[in-house]
């Protein structure tokens, strides 16, 4: 168990190094360097330019720059954004909590409803429910996330003004903590539902398939033969086993979740990673763009390792050889 986990972590670190090298190459590819951004207004003399290049180490050879870059990243330094006049790490960390909150809320909604729909469909495979669930999941797959968000806004913020249209808090935000938390949750309802649509489809499909699989297994027949109630068989025996592939999928799709959050936050003007990336792209703020790429890759790598670990914990059948014995 420990050994295979160590191998997972090690391969995660290697992946991370690869992402850093890719990031570095993309910086090299980007037209112009930091100096060109700094002196964009013109008027700097050759001498000043030379001094700036020396200060930032841009006069060094490419391999030296790469080593310096890797060293800097392991110290948490992702570079400097001249637009914000702040370190990139700080800019990203300020936006990250919003994205994490939105992602968790969406994940919760989609796992809950996805599993319910999937189990309902699996219990009556040829019934209307099953076809309806299949249809819903197909619609979920086919709907562009950003467009769904806009339609949600038109429906539930314009026609039926139930929810706020944009932003994370009211203006001015409530002072006390409870009021603030409630206000933020209220603002996150529509974005979270929009983002969850992305996963509702895949989770309900997967839980349907996995439940159908499990329901045919021998131990379910045994449980039924023992005279257990139907509810007990379904929830204690079947669902627990059917949940294994669902947990794996959720962990592996974190990248998709981040991508979806970028679109949803842009539509709902939430001050998260999405609008930050979008605006950095528009103003060609490469340090911030590449910082976001690196940060999201780190999150995906960590999520993959955690998923792997959870998977081993909830399913004793998989794992290292020492476990199988």
């Amino acid at each position: 168990m420990f050994r295979s986990f160590a191998i997972r972590v090690l391969s995660g670190v290697i992946l991370l190094l690869a992402v850093i090298v890719l990031n570095f190459l993309l910086i090299q590819l980007a037209p112009g360097d930091a100096v060109d951004v700094l002196i964009a207004d013109g008027g700097a003399s050759e001498e000043v330019i030379q001094r700036i290049r020396e200060t930032y180490g841009l006069d060094q050879s490419v391999p030296t720059q790469l080593l310096r870059y890797i060293a800097a990243i392991f110290q948490g330094d992702l570079g400097y954004s001249f637009h914000f006049n702040k370190p990139v790490t700080q800019v990203i960390l300020e936006a990250l909590p919003v994205t994490i909150m939105l992602g968790l809320a969406a994940l919760f909604i989609s796992s809950l409803f996805g599993t319910v729909l999937g189990v309902a469909a699996a219990l009556r495979p040829n019934h209307l429910t099953s076809h309806l669930v299949t249809f819903i999941s197909l619609i979920g797959y086919a709907t562009p996330t950003f467009w769904f968000g806009m339609m949600m806004l038109i429906a539930f913020a314009s026609w039926l003004p139930l929810f706020p249209a944009y932003g994370l808090t009211s203006v001015p935000p409530p002072r006390d903590f409870v009021g603030y938390a409630l206000d933020v949750s209220y603002h996150l309802v529509l974005p979270a539902i929009t983002l969850s649509g992305l996963f509702l489809a895949s989770i309900s499909r997967l839980s349907r398939a996995s439940m159908l699989d499990v329901l045919g297994a021998d131990y379910i027949r045994t449980a039924e033969a023992k005279g257990l109630t139907r509810a007990s068989v379904i929830y204690k025996h079947a669902l627990r086993n059917a949940a294994i592939p669902i947990v794996t999928m959720i962990g592996l799709q974190l990248g998709q979740l981040l991508s979806g959050a970028v679109l949803v936050e842009t539509v709902f003007s939430l001050p998260g990673i999405g609008p930050l990336l979008f605006e950095s792209v528009l103003r060609r703020d490469y340090p911030v763009m590449l910082g976001i790429l690196l940060m999201s890759a780190v999150m995906v790598i960590v999520a993959n390792i955690l998923t792997d670990l959870t998977y081993r914990l909830i399913d004793p059948r998989v794992g290292s050889r020492s476990n199988a014995r």
Binding site: L15, A18, V19, L22, L26, L29, A30, P125, T134, L138, I139, Y141, A142, T143, P144, T145, F146, W147, M150, M151, L153, I154, S158, A165, L212, L254, G255, Q256, L258, S259, G260, V262, L263, T266, L277, F278, V281, L282, R284, M289, L290, I292, L293, S296, A297, V300, I301, N304
Partner: protein
Amino acid sequence: MPADIQAPAAPLPEQAWRRTWRAFASNRPALGALIVLMVIIFAGLVGPYLVAENPFSMVEAPLLPPGDEAFLGTDFLGRDVFTALVHGARATLLIGIAATFLTMAIGISIGAFAGYFGGLMDDGLMRVTEFFLVLPNLVFAMILTTLFSPSMWTVIFAIGIVNWCPLARLTRAEFVRLKSQEFVLASRAAGAQDMRIMMRTILPNAMPPLIVSITLLIGVCILFEAALSFLGLTDPDIMTWGLMIGASRDYFWDSPWTVAYPGLAILITVLCIALIGDGLNDAFNPKLRKR
């Protein structure tokens, strides 16, 4: 080259395909979806010659609601939404299909080489796949299109680069499964080269499961193109459905028709593709259908 040697265990292709088509045609939703998709493709092929020539020209007052002057309304620059939809069908489908081809080319070759040769090649290529899977695809695509300045080709290139991984894994699994089967061994015994075995012997037999995911991939690519266009990371002179939605972002509140119709067009197109994929899946796996 003894090309006429019959592979013993390979299914009789024509008969198998005909059986598959019959199974597909008996699936009503899939057949309906195929017909609707044909209509959309036809609209994209012929439509641009029937409506106004330039979808970017201002023909009416801005933000007219759907009605007599403009069938589906006009956008904030007075451009006709219906005209743009018809022109958009062509561009959206073309970019989506081109991106699918690129994704397929990358995914299938990497998967085929990894699965067929195994060993170090397999290890190396699968590490590369893992590496690309770690990068959130839309984030990476946004950065790629920006770095290489947005145009139709950069968009196609970016979509291909970020989406090939699942297909590579599937192709690899199929190649690993098939490469030790009798008809492949027979082909090798007949003296066929590695490339020939991969392309002519294994690939056709690996196609059924691949076709289903390639079908779904077209949908993914169309959605991806729409997302990038919506964010403005595309050629602003090519009218696509995503671009229509992105351009009207600031006006959809009071004029929902400017974004509702192009979005519906994407939804219907991708839904049809998904239904066809479902139908193909059932047709290729008759066992699953019985459940």
